[in-house]
Symmetry: C2
Subunit: 407 residues, 2 copies
């Protein structure tokens, strides 16, 4: 009899993280896995022995289809960093005793940078005790800041949502015959992939944003105000996409200028918001025009109703590829996406040593940022464009998208 | 030869205001109208002789379909209140000289309360000079605060967007195994129709918001905090929908408590935002739990990608009915929607004397608000539900909804 499977979700949810779960579940079933367990609230929940038997929750193909269309983490998530193996071996002993009790042979963790750190540590500890459990990481993050993989599942749908709403906002900003400025605040603490994706709104029926300001570029307030002043001379409505994480030369976040406290999460990441509001207020004071700030906020990671079919499909594929790899005997690896060509877009999966990935952060390369620092290049556009293509129609019931919930 | 038609859009855009424009254009063409002009930026633009010949801009059925799917006001909008006829007759003389120069016989204005005031004044002035021009108002407003009509086009799509995103946000709020509070801020200065629409997220796969706080109910901060405290005892994640316009007993807006200035637009309406952020911060201070504030913001009125088919269709119908009425000889009327039945939902158009409508504001009736003041009743749900049904697929090009722009 084949051994049991355990799968968990970790870090911030994405619009398609459940499609990866569906990919793990469906492929593991096809491999004849015995039990397929899901940890509730990631590794943190597992430490409290919180888990479910997914076979009792997902009964049919239609439920798998619903799962693919359900935002947030179906199993629940955590932001929990495993301690150093040498400092707190008890945590690992406890975890492995739970894994052994559940007769787990295959362990999958769907997450971003911090979750790959978990896979790395579990692999290393497992090796040190000659465990036969196989550990495979499944990439996800809207931020697209994982190294080695061409891109991460979750990014394409967030990018599609951002491009769509930026288009709608730009259209809205043209309604009145009055000078106005809109600042759209987009997620991305250190990496500007999502903010850059606003460039996709630029197409035959839309001029796109006037400036795109990434966290990779040091922000200069004086320069910003001069550029807004210039744009306001040549057009009525100015729309600017800014990252939540833009910083001044002295390292302070722009949102700190508003006098707002910044909070940090359990990984020590700052929780940022308010850059757009600060900049909009500042422009009203300096230039006197009508301004508004729009934070795209949580919707960037949960607007599954606007998910990209390419993204949903790839999220499913990386889940399936992880299972295939583990059943082939692989361990200590993360599934990555490899782009084969752009025209037509073709992409496949591969594996990469988890030790060479964890905790690295991929930023937008300098060469993809316009020399003046307030736009992205054509290469950036060509890179992101294929990832937002096509749609997976939500299953609409009574006018609203239906989701799968645990019952 | 039939006379010319003039159509304008006024006030805040909606996701479907262009569907009404499409209804006017197509129906006027079918009636054999000679020229169909569109005023640019409403009556304010017309006073500056800004207009276009729509026949030069819309050439085909596919362009009409695109127009129905285009957010914001295709013609541009204004927030301009016509002066008192007796005080500033010159404005009216100027307007009517422009109308006569363009040989206008049929005048349509798509808008809310303030725009119906424009139709009323033009009708009265026209009568006083024995003009033969016919004036008909076409209702629109996401706020649903127009009297006499069962509901207003634009409301259903905003309600669908609000219900969809509330569902997605509630799902997202369940991701972590941690007490948390989300406050969603929804548009609606004085009327709680939009905030109430968040109730539709309550269905088989979603519990809906825990509280729904309308501007019709005086807001009590102490009571609010106690209720949050109660909910936090019984569930992990609490989600609350609040109107931007909630006020304290002393008349101050809650958003003013944050020390933010409130601005006013040209109609003297306050521009409000910050209630959710204030309440979330307050709860963090009082109860110490993790909170977040999400402003649905401008997207409520421009997310045409999530428009309701019922709404788009009715928006088109009121435009068409206005044209039919004018060509029948009617003037000084607004088209209204009359609901014939809920099960199945059936609705038709009718006409109503503009003098009995303008400047009245329809609020959520007391009997549709839960006695404890923090939810809406089943009657409210039954009223809104039919208006968000079905979808009109956007025309997607390169992964994004395509819009019609003036070329």
């Amino acid at each position: 009899m084949k051994g049991n499977v355990l799968v968990g979700q970790s870090g911030g949810p994405t619009a398609v993280i459940n499609s990866s779960l569906a990919g793990v579940f469906k492929t593991a079933k096809e491999h004849g896995a015995n039990k397929i367990y899901g940890m509730l609230y990631g590794i943190q929940g597992l430490l409290e022995e919180k888990y479910v038997d997914l076979g009792n929750l997902i009964h049919s193909d239609i439920e798998i289809e619903l799962l693919k269309r359900t935002p947030s983490s179906y199993l629940g998530s955590c932001r929990y960093k495993l301690p150093d193996i040498n400092k707190e071996p008890e945590t690992y002993k406890k975890l492995f005793s739970i894994l052994n009790k559940l007769e787990i042979e295959y362990f999958f963790y769907i997450g971003g940078n911090d979750s790959m750190d978990t896979i790395r540590k579990l692999t290393d500890y497992g090796e040190s005790i000659s465990s036969s459990i196989r550990f495979i990481g499944v990439p996800k993050t809207i931020d697209n800041d994982l190294e080695v993989t061409d891109h991460t599942p979750g990014f394409g749908s967030a990018a599609k949502y951002i491009a769509t709403t930026t288009k709608e906002i730009i259209r809205d900003s043209l309604a009145y015959d009055q000078k106005n400025l809109t600042v759209i605040e987009i997620m991305g603490r250190n990496a500007g992939w999502l903010t850059g994706a606003s460039v996709l709104s630029k197409c035959q029926d839309c001029e796109g944003p006037d400036m795109i300001i990434l966290p990779e570029v040091t922000f200069d307030l004086g320069d910003f105000i001069s550029k807004v002043e210039y744009f306001q001379k040549v057009r009525k409505s100015v729309v600017i996409a800014v990252s939540e994480g833009i910083r001044l030369r002295d390292g302070r976040y722009v949102c700190e200028l508003a006098g707002q406290e910044t909070f940090t999460d359990d990984f020590g990441h700052s929780l940022l918001s308010g850059s757009a509001k600060y900049l909009a207020n500042r422009i009203t004071l300096e230039l006197g025009c009508k301004t508004r700030a729009i934070e795209l906020s949580t919707l960037q990671r949960c607007a599954t109703h606007m998910a990209s079919l390419v993204d949903i499909t790839e999220a499913f594929q990386v889940g399936g590829a992880a299972v295939n790899a583990a059943f082939r005997g692989e361990t200590g690896k993360m599934v990555i996406l490899k782009r084969l060509s752009n025209n037509p877009y073709q992409c496949t999966t591969d594996l990469y040593d988890i030790h060479k990935i964890a905790n690295l952060e991929k930023k937008v390369p300098d060469s993809w940022i316009d020399p003046n620092g307030t736009y992205v290049t054509q290469e950036f556009t060509e890179y992101v464009k294929p990832l937002i293509q096509e749609e997976l129609t939500p299953i609409m019931i009574n006018g609203l998208p239906r989701h799968l919930i645990k019952k």
